[in-house]
C-alpha cells in the first residue's frame, strides 16, 4: 500500500493507492464512507427485522402483531428503510463518487462528520420518539394527525445533515476538477450521482417546507396547517426523494456493469441525456400522489403526471436499453458473439455484483417500473390509490431494485474500501437470487391483493371488530400468503447479505485487494470501442433489442388491461 500526503492550500489529505484499481483513496474520505455505510446497514438490519413482523401480520392466516404495534412498527419501518438506510448509503455513495472515482480528496472532512452526526441524531430521535408511543403517524405524518414535536425536529435535523452532505459532494467535484485530479470528462457514474445530488437539493428544501411548519404547528405555535398544502409539500419531498434513489441506483448499475464485465456506456451522449431528463421532469411526478385529492383540476393533475413525467419515463426507457446493451457489447467483445443470446449464457452469473445487477434491473423494470407508470396514470389511480398495490410497486423499485443494487455494490466496497477479504463467498453468490425472488413474490402478492381492493397500512382485512364485515374472497388470502412467503424468503436473502458483510468486516483478513471481481476472473479491460468495432455487425446489441421489445409488450399488456378494469367500474366524474 502506497500512502502519499498531498498538501494543497493548507489542506493535508493522506492518500493510499488501491492495488487493484490504481485509484487514489483519501483516507479521510474512506473513514466517512465506512461510517455512513455501516450506519446504513445497521438501519437495514433493524428495518428488516421489523419487515418480517409486518409481513407476518398482514398475512391474515398468521396475523402476528396487535394493531398498536403494527402501526407503530410500520411507521418505523418506513422511516428506517426509506429514509435512513437509503440516504445513509447514498451519502456513502456520494463521497465515494466524488473522491475515490475522481482520484480526489475529501475537501472538508470535519463538516462531513458534522453532517453525519446531524443525520444520526435526527434518525435516532425519530426512532425513540415513535417507540415511546404517541407518534404513530406513519412516515408521511399527514397533518392533522399529530406526532410529538421531536418527531418533526428529528426529520428536520436529518434533512439538514443530508443537505450538507450533498453540498459537500458538489464541493468535492468542483475542487477535483479545479485541481486537475482526473482527465477527460466526468465519468458517467459520477454524472449520475451529480444528477441525484441536484434532485436531492430541491427535494430536501421541499422537505423543510413541509416539516418546519409542521414542527411549529405541533408545538402549538401555529394554529392551523392546511392538510392539502402539507400533502403537496410533503410529496414534493417524498416523491423526488425516490428519484434520488433512482438516479443513484442507475449510477450504481453502471458501476456494477463496469466492475463485473468491464462494460462501458455505448453512447455517453444518450446516457447523459437520460439523466438530464430526470433532472428536469421527474419532480413533477410527485403530483401522482395527489391524483385523487380534492383541489387540483384534471389539467393540473394530467400535466404534472404525464407531460413531464413521461419524459422522465423516457429517461428510464433509455437506461433500460443502454445498460443491458453495454453488458451485451462488452461480453460480445470478449468473444461471445454467436446468435442473439450467447452472451447471456456466458455471462458471469456467479459473480455477486453481476447477479445483483441483473436481478435488480429485472425487478425494478418489469415489476416496479411497469406498475409505477400504470398506477401513476390519472384515471387509473382511482383503482390503486392507497391500496396494497402502492407498497407492491415500491417494494419492487426501492427494495428489489435500489436496495439490491446497493447490496451488490457493498460486496465490492469490502475489498476495495474496507480492505478485508470477502468471507462466505458461497452465500454471496446465491444472495441476490434469493433476495430478488423473495422481493418479487412480496411485490406480486401485494399487487394482487391491492388489485382486489386490499388497503395498505391496514391491520385487519377481515374487519372482525368493525360494525360491518365486507366479504373477503379466498384469492385475497392467497395473495397475502404469497406476500408472506415472499417476505420470509426475502428476509433469508437479507440475512445472507448481513452475514457476508458483517463476518467480512469483523473477521475477514485485512488485506489489499488484488482483483476487482470477487468470484470470477476480472473482466479484460477493453476501454471504449474503436471506430472499426462500432461498425462490426457482430458487436451490435441485438439480443438486448429483442429483450426490450418483449418488455414493451409486457408493459403495454399490463397498462391496457388496467384501462379495461377501470372501464368496468361505476361511472364517476
Amino acid at each position: 500500500m502506497a500512502v502519499t500526503s498531498i498538501a494543497r492550500e493548507r489542506e493535508h489529505a493522506i492518500f493510499r493507492t488501491c492495488s487493484a484499481t490504481g485509484l487514489k483513496v483519501d483516507l479521510a474520505a474512506e473513514r466517512l464512507i465506512i461510517a455512513n455505510a455501516v450506519v446504513a446497514v445497521v438501519m437495514l438490519l433493524i428495518g428488516g427485522i421489523i419487515a418480517l413482523l409486518l409481513a407476518l401480520t398482514r398475512w391474515q392466516a398468521i396475523h402476528l402483531l396487535n394493531p398498536v404495534w403494527f402501526y407503530r412498527l410500520t411507521t418505523i419501518h418506513g422511516i428506517d428503510m426509506l429514509v435512513a438506510w437509503i440516504v445513509f448509503f447514498e451519502v456513502a455513495g456520494l463521497y465515494f463518487g466524488s473522491t475515490v472515482l475522481l482520484n480526489a480528496r475529501m475537501v472538508k472532512p470535519s463538516i462531513a462528520w458534522f453532517a453525519f452526526v446531524l443525520m444520526l441524531v435526527g434518525g435516532l430521535m425519530v426512532n425513540v420518539v415513535v417507540l415511546m408511543g404517541g407518534s404513530d403517524v406513519m412516515f408521511t405524518a399527514y397533518v392533522p394527525l399529530k406526532a410529538h414535536p421531536l418527531f418533526y425536529l428529528g426529520y428536520i435535523l436529518f434533512a439538514v445533515g443530508a443537505l450538507i452532505a450533498v453540498a459537500l459532494f458538489f464541493v468535492n467535484v468542483v475542487v477535483a476538477k479545479a485541481e486537475g485530479r482526473y482527465e477527460g470528462s466526468m465519468p458517467l457514474v459520477v454524472f449520475g450521482l451529480a444528477t441525484a445530488g441536484i434532485i436531492a437539493t430541491y427535494t430536501l428544501l421541499s422537505g423543510a417546507l413541509a416539516f418546519v411548519p409542521a414542527f411549529f404547528w405541533s408545538l402549538g405555535l401555529v394554529d392551523n396547517y392546511d392538510p392539502g398544502f402539507f400533502r403537496n409539500f410533503f410529496w414534493s419531498f417524498g416523491h423526488p426523494a425516490q428519484q434520488i434513489n433512482l438516479a443513484a441506483m442507475v449510477a450504481v448499475w453502471y458501476a456494477l456493469a463496469f466492475l463485473t464485465v468491464g462494460a462501458v456506456p455505448l453512447n455517453e451522449k444518450l446516457s447523459r441525456l437520460a439523466f438530464i431528463l430526470y433532472i428536469f421532469f421527474i419532480n413533477l411526478g410527485s403530483a401522482h400522489h395527489l391524483l385523487v385529492d380534492p383541489g387540483p383540476s384534471f389539467a393540473w393533475k394530467a400535466t404534472n403526471t404525464s407531460y413531464a413525467m413521461y419524459l422522465a419515463v423516457l429517461g428510464s426507457m433509455i437506461h433500460a436499453f443502454s445498460i443491458p446493451a453495454a453488458l451485451e457489447v462488452a461480453l460480445r467483445r470478449q468473444g461471445h458473439k454467436r446468435g442473439l443470446l450467447e452472451w447471456l449464457r456466458k455471462a458471469p452469473w456467479r459473480e455477486p455484483g453481476f447477479a445483483a445487477l441483473v436481478v435488480s434491473m429485472f425487478v425494478f423494470g418489469w415489476i416496479g417500473g411497469v406498475t409505477g407508470v400504470t398506477i401513476g396514470t390519472e384515471q387509473i389511480n382511482m383503482l390503486a390509490h392507497n391500496t396494497l398495490r402502492i407498497p407492491g410497486h415500491f417494494h419492487a423499485t426501492v427494495v428489489g431494485g435500489t436496495t439490491l443494487a446497493f447490496m451488490g455494490l457493498t460486496y465490492y466496497l469490502i475489498p476495495l474500501i474496507f480492505r478485508r477479504e470477502l468471507k462466505l463467498k458461497k452465500l454471496a453468490i446465491w444472495q441476490p437470487y434469493v433476495y430478488g425472488l423473495g422481493m418479487a413474490l412480496v411485490s406480486v402478492g401485494m399487487i394482487a391483493a391491492g388489485l382486489q381492493g386490499v388497503s395498505r397500512r391496514h391491520w385487519d382485512v377481515t374487519f372482525t371488530q368493525a360494525p360491518f364485515q365486507s366479504p373477503v374472497p379466498g384469492t385475497v388470502h392467497l395473495a397475502l400468503a404469497v406476500m408472506g412467503i415472499g417476505a420470509i424468503i426475502a428476509i433469508i436473502g437479507g440475512t445472507m447479505f448481513l452475514l457476508v458483510v458483517l463476518s467480512s468486516v469483523f473477521t475477514g483478513k485485512r488485506q489489499e485487494a488484488t482483483s476487482v471481481t470477487l468470484v470470477v476472473d476480472p473482466p479484460p479491460f477493453l476501454g471504449y470501442m474503436s471506430e472499426k468495432e462500432e461498425k462490426d455487425a457482430q458487436l451490435q446489441p441485438r439480443g438486448t433489442f429483442v429483450i426490450v421489445l418483449v418488455f414493451l409488450m409486457f408493459f403495454a399488456a399490463y397498462y391496457l388491461s388496467n384501462w379495461w378494469l377501470l372501464g368496468r367500474t361505476w361511472m364517476v366524474r
Partner: protein, 173 residues
Amino acid sequence: MIAPPRVWWKPLGQLERSWLLIGLVWCIFLTAMMPIWFFLGRQNVPATTYRATPEQFQAQVNAMIEQYKVGEERGFPIVEPPPGSDVFIQARMWQWYPIVKLKKGETYRLHLSSLDVQHGFSLQPMNLNFMVLPGYDYVVTITPTTAGEFYVVCNEYCGVGHHLMIGKIIVTE
C-alpha cells in the same frame, strides 16, 4: 466508472436510434391516453371541490339525515335521497356516516369530507378510491351501475382504530 475520452458526442447506433424512437412514441401514447379518456371514458377523477369547515359539513349531513332517513342499522341511520341530489358522507375517527341507499343507473353528487384527520374513501368491491381531507368538500359525481351491498373502507391511516372504520352503501335496482 472511468472518465470517457474528451470527445464523446457521437451519433447513435442504429438500434439505439430505433429504441429511442419507439420509446418516444410510447411515451406520447401514454400521455395522450389521459385526455382521450377524459373525453371518451366514463370514469374520470372528480375535480369539484368546496371549502367546508367541519361544523358546516356536519350540519349538511344532519339536515340530509333528517329529510331522507328511511331506517337504521347498528345505530347508523340509513338515508335514501332522491336521484340527482346531493348526498353527504362524513368521515371521522372511526366511522363513515351515515349509510346511504342509492338507485342503480341514477346519478348522485356524493360529498366527502372529514371532521378530524385525513381518511381514505375506498368503495369495495368496486375498488374506487378518493382522499377525504378536513376542510375540503370533495364532490364525487357517481352513477352506480351494479346493485347490491357495497362497503366503504378507510384506506388512509387515521389512528389506531383505522381498521374499524367501515361504512356501507346500498344500491337497489
